[in-house]
């Protein structure tokens, strides 16, 4: 009889403390539930096909991690570290800001942050889309293995560090050591670049690139970006060459 407290009328089925079924979907009050229960309720609601809105997230950590099914989740406020991490398919919307490790390691799905993101947004994602309407702090897109990261504002130090695949598009300015030691993938920057990282090459973005990026920004109602430059790997650090020892010294 573990679910005895949840029986009652048919309207209340599936609802527990801090969870309310409303016309638009399921509403969860994060202020009165442990994070583990918040995530459990989100998964249960998504499994039932209902969109979820989480009130009072209070910048708590690990909200909406490991959501492995499609569905719509809105966090009404700021979230802490690792929001939406390890996800595969869900569409997550954060109306405030996000802390470190936003969307870390997602395979697919979409995570949109209306405010700013802390360090290491979209770290090691393999697919999906991460959108930050404000600024990203240091190391956004570190070790990206696919997918895309769209930043409407500025991006901080070492954005795209050691990225391997996918692309990052920054409508504002990029900080120092941009795309340092990238293996592959592409970084697009429309604003100023404080400095480039090791083994990077700046190219002119093609018309096809520009059209693709403008479409992506339009898809998320971001302001139309200016013309992008494109940064790719110089590929000098792929294999060790003794006569390029100085390059290696600088990189390490």
């Amino acid at each position: 009889m573990a679910d005895a407290g949840r029986a009652g009328t048919s309207l209340e089925i599936g609802a527990g403390a801090g969870v309310e079924i409303v016309a638009a979907g399921v509403e969860i009050d994060a202020a009165v539930l442990p994070v583990r229960d918040v995530n459990r309720e989100i998964r249960a609601a998504l499994a039932g096909g209902a969109p979820v809105i989480v009130r009072n997230p209070g910048a708590r950590h690990s909200l909406g991690v490991a959501l492995l099914a499609p569905g719509q989740v809105t966090f009404d406020g700021s979230v802490g570290y690792y929001c939406g991490g390890m996800g595969d398919g869900a569409t997550v919307h954060v109306t405030g800001s996000a802390g470190w490790g936003l969307a870390e390691g997602i395979l697919s799905g979409t995570i949109v942050v209306d405010g700013n993101a802390g360090n290491s947004a979209a770290a090691a994602i393999r697919g999906g889309t991460v959108v930050v309407r404000g600024d990203c702090a240091a190391r956004a897109g570190v070790s990206m293995k696919g997918g895309r990261l769209l930043v409407a504002g500025n991006a901080g130090y070492m954005t795209g560090f050691m990225m391997q695949k996918g692309y990052i598009a920054i409508a504002g300015d990029a900080g120092d050591a941009l795309a340092d030691s990238m293996y592959e993938g592409t970084v697009y920057v429309a604003g100023e670049i404080a400095s480039l990282g090791n083994d990077t090459v700046v190219e002119v973005a093609s018309d096809t690139d520009q059209a693709m990026l403008e479409a992506a920004f339009a898809e998320f109602n971001l302001p139309p970006p200016r013309h992008f430059r494109r940064i790719v790997a110089g590929r000098k650090l792929w294999n060790f060459e003794k006569h390029e020892l100085e390059t290696w010294r600088a990189a390490l």
């Binding site: 209070g58 700021s78 800001s97 700013n116 802390g118 360090n119 901080g156 130090y157 900080g175």
Partner: protein, 311 residues
């Protein structure tokens, strides 16, 4: 890890900064429950000089207290005296400078330490969780203009009162620091200062930040200039906060290795390692932002626009 937090009001009226800081630190205590402390600033600059002194752990506490007060009475009119746990709080009316007050109180003893000194600063700290700090010092009712605080996860030095933060920037009245990270050139800097006769009380690398700031101010630098020069003079990972009678600010290492979230509204500036602490203490106002690396910022109350009065 360690947790650090700061709050600065833009208004003229005293605010419950003790309660705000306690709420922030309680939220951050997960980051380090070894010890906790806060530096609180009262708004009136004309308050008597207030001195917090750490008593020796060994021996007759009452005798230590008598010896310290006798020493201070030579150079100052000694006002109210209170003892909280291992700390003595003494108010002084004196024209003597910080060095003379230190000499009078410490009296050459290795075990007596002036923990803080200033007209606006109250600096309390102890081993354990923020709840214990409130039980011992009852600072939740403190009203003032700004505050910084710390919860400690000890990684490389002892867990005791001496190694707890905040650290007074020893010698610079009203200046205090809290630090999250490791200053990896600490030993070199410490040797440098010791050769010049500076005394260190702990083996906590964070202590050198206060010593450094005090030294830079002593050389005639402004607090802004001291923060800026520290970005290149310190090695390692650091996000630290500094506060003076008029200001609060931060400095961050080039790699932005330790977190720092800033929320600024027209009424206040709040900073912490994690936004959760700001939301727990102050609610949902303002947009959180994380600065990049190799940056510093200082908010001076005297230079901030007065907040718009509530309708």
């Amino acid at each position: 890890m360690c947790g650090i937090a700061g709050y600065l009001s833009k208004g003229d009226d005293p605010e419950p900064v003790g309660r705000i800081m306690l709420d922030m630190l309680s939220s951050l205590a997960r980051r380090g429950p070894d010890s906790v402390g806060m530096a609180l600033y009262r708004t009136e600059p004309g308050h008597r000089e207030t001195c917090w002194i750490r008593l020796p752990e060994d021996g007759d506490t009452a005798a230590h207290e008598r010896r310290i007060l006798t020493g201070l009475a030579v150079i100052a009119e000694v006002g109210p005296v209170q003892r909280h746990e291992g700390l003595l709080r003494v108010e002084l009316a004196t024209s003597a400078d910080a060095a003379a007050i230190r000499a009078a109180a410490e009296g050459g003893s290795r075990d007596v330490e002036i923990v803080s000194l200033g007209h606006q600063l109250e600096l309390v700290k102890q081993v354990g969780h923020p709840d214990g700090l409130e039980r011992a010092f009852n600072m939740s009712g403190f009203r003032g203009s700004h505050a910084i605080g710390h919860t400690r996860l000890s990684t490389e030095s002892r867990v005791d009162l001496t190694h707890s933060q905040p650290f007074w920037a020893r010698g610079a009245a009203d200046v205090a620091t809290v630090h999250n990270g490791h200053i990896t050139n600490y030993h070199r800097l410490r040797r440098l200062y010791e050769q010049r006769g500076v005394r260190f009380f702990s083996e906590n690398d964070s202590e050198v930040i206060g010593v450094y700031i005090a030294d830079q101010l002593d050389r005639g630098l402004t607090l802004e200039e001291a923060l800026e020069s520290s970005l290149d003079d310190f090695d390692g990972s650091f996000t630290y906060l500094v506060a003076s009678g008029d200001a609060m600010g931060y400095a961050r290492d080039p790699f932005a290795l330790k977190p720092l979230i800033v929320v600024e509204t027209d009424r206040y500036v709040a900073v912490a390692n994690e936004e959760i602490a700001i939301r727990a203490a102050l609610g949902t106002a303002g947009v959180a932002h994380e600065p990049s690396g190799h940056v510093f910022k200082l908010w001076r109350r005297s230079q901030l626009a007065a907040p718009v009065a509530a309708a």
